[in-house]
Amino acid sequence: MSTETEHIVESDKSDDEHVHEHPSDKKYFQIAGVLAILTALEVGTYFFEGIPGEILIPLLMIMMVVKFFYVAAWFMHLRFDNSLFMKFFVSGLVLASVVYAVFLTVFEFWHKG
């Protein structure tokens, strides 16, 4: 009976070894390079007139999300850490996105702008 409970205790815990799995500094520089390139591309859209809105906005959104993901997953170490952290953060993110999207919808933001 007691060993059962100890097993439950063990499986509750995350594998502590993950904490020591850090990307190298070189990897961090590479990611920063990717972020820099993406930023340059994003800013580049400002100088290219004539990109229609239906393409421009999704394009910007995609680049934004990719940058977001890289900072969160690598710099904030989320991809290596206990998934509980990611769950809390994503919960806040998703909740905010949905609630405020509905909010803007009620104001007819999407076609009135």
Partner: protein, 648 residues
């Protein structure tokens, strides 16, 4: 685990004894008396502080209610002028919701959660103390407005631009915006604190699905607080910046939209009502099984319906705005979502009833209040369902029918639940029961008074009586029921008086007598495994948990025929509180010092920058000292606590 878990101290001395920085940095020693209460970081004392302060504010809010009822008892009332009436009914709402109901829930949460999960305290004890003092500072700050030019007068919901400086020129709404910002800090921090506590500090073997329903409901509440408080924080910032700095968020002439306020407020406001009621649901989910001598019916459903309520509560907010001009598509969508949210609560009602069915029900005072919740909340929920039908709500909105609904759920649900909790857990906290006889009287008088007050409001509303008005003219037929409601309100006041007398006389009767023995109610969860009142260190040994209702299963087993038989007495199962030298978090002055600075910052924003500077300096100093104080009193000698010997 009983390590002192503190917010990271930025600098700590390794040789605690020789390097003791300026005397002010040493931790207070605790002990007894007022200094103990003012520097405590003990979750149990903090819970008691919340309860006492909240009861005080409950009485204040009750007096405000009586003033409202006196004014409305007769047509063309002259008890309160219109302007005063606006302040009184605004403060009644603000006080009851933010300064009474939420802190009452916090009282139970703070006291019980660590005990129910088998811990010695919360994850961040000093932050816990800070939350209490910040709440108290905010509550006092808002009420200062009464003597500083007038209280907030725009309703607890504070619709802009009515609450802007053009239409609310007194400082009242500044006290509202800044005061609720202060109390909001307390709630948010507490939400983070208790979330980490529940996830991280459970006793060995206590998986999430072995936690009592009360702790589960409080977990949902903490998560709701964490996500909802920032929304009202933004709304209050926008209001404050409009009033103090001329921001144009709600200025229609320049393109500002009043609906911005309403949306932001209710995006917070609807989760807020579940923040208010889920603690009461949690309380009665402990009381009803105990006094039905049966486990809660459908534990997984109770947990999942609580989680569902937490989720779905985010999708219904605009049902407070059906007539604000949001358009038929939005109205239809929110009408539907509002209908759906009745389902998880309905599941809970059925499960509470099913728990009682077939049980050996004992009608103690706590149980009576719990049954009161089930019945009264059902009535309130039913009127709520009628509101969800948007065309019907068009008639009901802004009438007394709405006032009836929310008082049935708030008072009938939350307050009855709180009182159930008082009568149930009083012996755990104070070592003696409240008088059962007086408790039953308390219940019946409260039940009668409550129904007399708010029942007729359904009728008044449907007959067309507006809400949020300071008086009404004769000849509409509102007179009789308003008078009945006023009489009912005074009967409620009488019942609260009975409760307070009960508190005092029970304490007097218990003086000089030894504390009540363990487990006076033959209860089910871990907090009852400790002596009454709870020793400062909670458990002598942290229990190893093997099942839901762990405490119950240590006392009862089943025989070969599957019948429940008692296998151990309370004295055998309960710990005796005799453990010595258990390491506990050290007390601290700094949460209080930090808290005191905040109302001064508020006063500074209203009156003079000097107050801001003073308050800011005080809070900053408190924060700095907090971060740098030694983790422990270096002189204390402690040993590691024990876990239960598992080899039995």
């Amino acid at each position: 685990m009983t390590q002192t878990i503190e917010p990271s101290a930025m600098e700590t001395s390794n040789d605690g004894n020789s390097h003791r920085p300026l005397g002010v940095y040493t931790r207070p020693k605790g002990g007894s008396g007022w200094r103990d209460w003012v520097t405590t970081v003990d979750h149990k004392k903090i819970g008691i502080l919340y309860g006492a302060a909240a009861l005080l504010f409950f009485v204040i809010g009750g007096i405000e209610a009586l003033l409202i009822r006196l004014q409305l008892a007769t047509p063309d009332g002259t008890v309160l002028g219109a302007d005063t009436y606006n302040q009184v009914y605004t403060m009644h709402g603000v006080t009851m919701i933010f300064l009474a109901a939420m802190p009452l829930a916090a009282a139970f949460a703070n006291y019980l959660i660590p005990l129910q999960i088998g811990a010695r305290d919360v994850a961040f004890p000093r932050l816990n103390a800070m939350s209490f003092w910040v709440f108290l500072a905010g509550g006092i700050f808002i009420n200062l407005s009464w003597i500083l030019g007038g209280a907030p007068d725009g309703g607890w919901f504070a619709y802009a631009p009515n609450t802007g400086i053009v239409f609310s020129p007194s400082h009242g709404m500044d006290f509202y915006a800044l005061g609720l910002q202060i109390t909001g800090i307390a709630s948010l921090v507490s939400g983070i604190n208790l979330t980490v506590t529940i996830f991280n500090m459970r006793a060995p073997g206590m998986t999430l699905f072995k936690m009592p329903v009360f702790t589960w409901m409080m977990l949902v509440v903490q998560l709701l607080l964490v996500f909802a408080m920032p929304v009202i924080a933004v709304a209050l910032f926008l209001l404050a910046f409009s009033r103090l700095f001329g921001a144009t968020f709600f200025n229609p002439e320049l393109g500002g939209d009043p609906l911005l306020w309403q949306h932001l407020f209710w995006i917070f406001g609807h989760p807020e009502v579940y923040i208010l009621v889920l603690p009461a649901f949690g309380i009665i989910s402990e009381v009803i099984p105990t006094f039905s001598r049966k486990p809660i019916f459908g534990y997984p459903f109770m947990v999942f319906s609580g989680i569902a309520i937490g989720f779905m509560g985010w999708g219904v907010w605009a049902h407070h705005m059906f007539v604000s001009g949001i358009g038929p598509v939005s109205v239809a969508a929110f009408s539907l979502s509002t209908m759906f949210i009745a389902v998880p609560t309905g599941i809970k009602i059925l499960n509470w009833m099913a728990t009682m069915w077939g049980g050996r029900v004992k009608f103690t005072a706590a149980m009576l209040f719990a049954i009161g919740v089930v019945t009264m909340f059902t009535i309130g929920g039913l009127s709520g369902v009628t509101h969800s039908v948007a065309p019907a709500d068009t008639q009901q909105t802004d009438t007394y029918y709405i006032v009836a609904h929310f008082h049935y759920v708030i008072f009938g649900g939350i307050i009855f639940g709180i009182f159930s909790g008082f009568y149930f857990w009083w012996p755990k906290v104070f070592g003696h029961k409240l008088s059962e006889r007086m408790g039953k009287l308390n219940f019946w008088v409260m039940l009668v008074g409550f129904n007399l007050t708010f029942g007729p409001m359904h009728i008044l509303g449907l007959q067309g009586m507006s809400r949020r008005i300071d008086t009404y003219s004769p000849g509409f037929g509102f007179e009789a029921w308003n008078l009945v409601a006023t009489i009912g309100a005074f009967i409620i006041a009488l019942s609260v008086l009975i409760f307070l007398i009960n508190v005092i006389t029970s304490a007097r009767r218990a003086r000089g007598l030894p504390p009540i023995g363990p487990d006076p109610w033959d209860a089910r969860s871990l907090e009852w495994m400790t002596p009454n009142p709870t020793p400062v260190h909670n458990f002598d040994e942290i229990p190893i948990v093997e099942s839901l209702d762990e405490f119950w299963h240590r006392k009862y087993g089943s025989d070969e025929d599957g019948k429940v038989v008692r296998v151990a007495s309370a004295e055998e199962v309960c710990q005796d509180g005799s453990a010595e030298g258990v390491h506990l978090p050290s007390p601290s002055y700094w949460p209080l010092v930090f808290a005191i600075g905040l109302p001064f910052i508020g006063l500074g924003l209203i009156y003079s920058l000097w107050f801001c500077i003073f308050g800011g300096a005080l809070s900053l100093m408190g924060l700095y000292a907090w971060v740098f104080e030694p983790v422990d009193d270096p002189d204390i000698d402690h040993h590691e606590p024990q876990k239960e010997d598992v080899s039995d």
